[in-house]
């Protein structure tokens, strides 16, 4: 890559006024660094990933509304987590967290356990309990 080829496309970085450092060759063939505001192929891939997450969050919301899963699943997806990450954050076994995904088990959880989840999701216990999708 030559310095004049360093892409300056719009991206999620440029929206926050951030630029990243790239390595490229100057006109004399020497390596140097220069800033890039973003690159379209990369944004395409990143946006694709974001859409996938959005879709998963929407699905989870629908499933909570249908009474198929507990609100924990929705907030897990919303925080870009999966089962192993969530289990690690609440310091519980994966099978136990998975059990809490069932609405019937979730309604019987005591406040201490609910608070553990709520803290990880940065919401109140009430918000977690009363989320209806």
């Amino acid at each position: 890559m030559k310095t004049n080829q360093i892409p300056q496309d719009d991206s999620s970085l440029s929206k926050k006024d951030l630029k990243e450092l790239c390595y490229a060759v100057d006109e004399n063939g020497n390596y140097t660094t220069a800033l890039s505001s973003g690159w379209e192929p990369k944004s395409v891939a990143l946006n694709g990933s974001m859409q996938l997450i959005q879709q998963r969050v929407q699905n989870a919301r629908q499933m909570v509304a249908n009474g198929q899963v507990s609100p924990i699943v929705y907030f897990m997806e919303k925080n870009k987590m999966d089962l192993p990450i969530l289990a690690s954050y609440v310091s519980m076994w994966k099978w136990r967290v998975k059990r809490h995904f069932k609405p019937s088990v979730f309604t019987k959880l005591n406040d201490k356990i609910l608070k553990k989840y709520a803290d990880v999701f940065d919401i109140s216990t009430e918000e977690l309990k009363n989320f209806k999708g």
Partner: protein, 331 residues
Amino acid sequence: MQVEFKHNQSAHCENGVASNLLKHQGIEISEPMVFGLGSGLFFVYLPFIKVNFSPAFSYRPMPGWIFKRMAKLLGIKIKRQKFNSPEKAQQVLDQNLKNGIPTGLQVGVYGLTYFPDEYRFHFNAHNLVVYGKTDADYLISDPVMQETTTLTHHELEKVRFAKGALAPKGHLYYPVYIPKEINWEKAIRKAIKKNCNDMLAPVPIAGVKAIRTVAKNIVKWHKKFGVAKTNHYLGQLIRMQEEIGTGGGGFRFIYAAFLQESADILKNEKLSELSKEMTEIGDMWRDLAVQIARVYKKRSNQQDVYIMLSKNMLEIADREEEFFKKLKKAV
């Protein structure tokens, strides 16, 4: 409380922290030199580990290895500490700052409030330097940022104790011993040889052979999983190659810069030739990313586009194999 610390932006966090911490100790070492001495150029494919619902790819070794290898080669001693209790972790960090020691930290990316939302995911091997503390904040030199920044005390605790894979557990580190004389020539030769061996390793999930495995799998994914999943996997491949930290082309340009710097130090003209070749290989990776993005956007269902991507990636693998065989002979 604040330590005089010079912040230099770098492409990658690990190289950047290492370079900035060593510059603070009076060793002039560039980011490409850190990367090269850490034998940082790599390709690895871990189909049995899922990251963001895709197999794991990486263009570099395990987090932390580059810094460790580089320090070992140069004879630099690094003190490292992990903690069970956040209070203790904070005490040790504060004591360091009081003693005037800028301190490197391993942190989780998800809680870094100064990153755009799109970049905040659960990856726990980011690196930054803390060089001061005020009543409300810690002063942060995050090497991928243009300027220094801050995190509140609470935010810093959160990122130091992020959970999940590679949990940092408050991990902090700083150089405690720097040798008076450093034999750069010897270190560079050794690091280059190691990098060649890693890239030419006879296993299907590492180095050149891993690139071939992925290239062949592109066609298989399309047959087995369909367009949406294949495109998602390919999208992850681009992200690993180009997202913050690689300097472009999956670290190939940083490595080319290292070879150019080494050519001067070793007075080896061959290395500057090879640096040019590595730049061309980096350009090939960039072209591949452009092609993948095109396929991704069109969602074309034609099998031949995946065969074409696969073919182009195999070509890169051939180029890299030939390259590392030559590089091995050149030092």
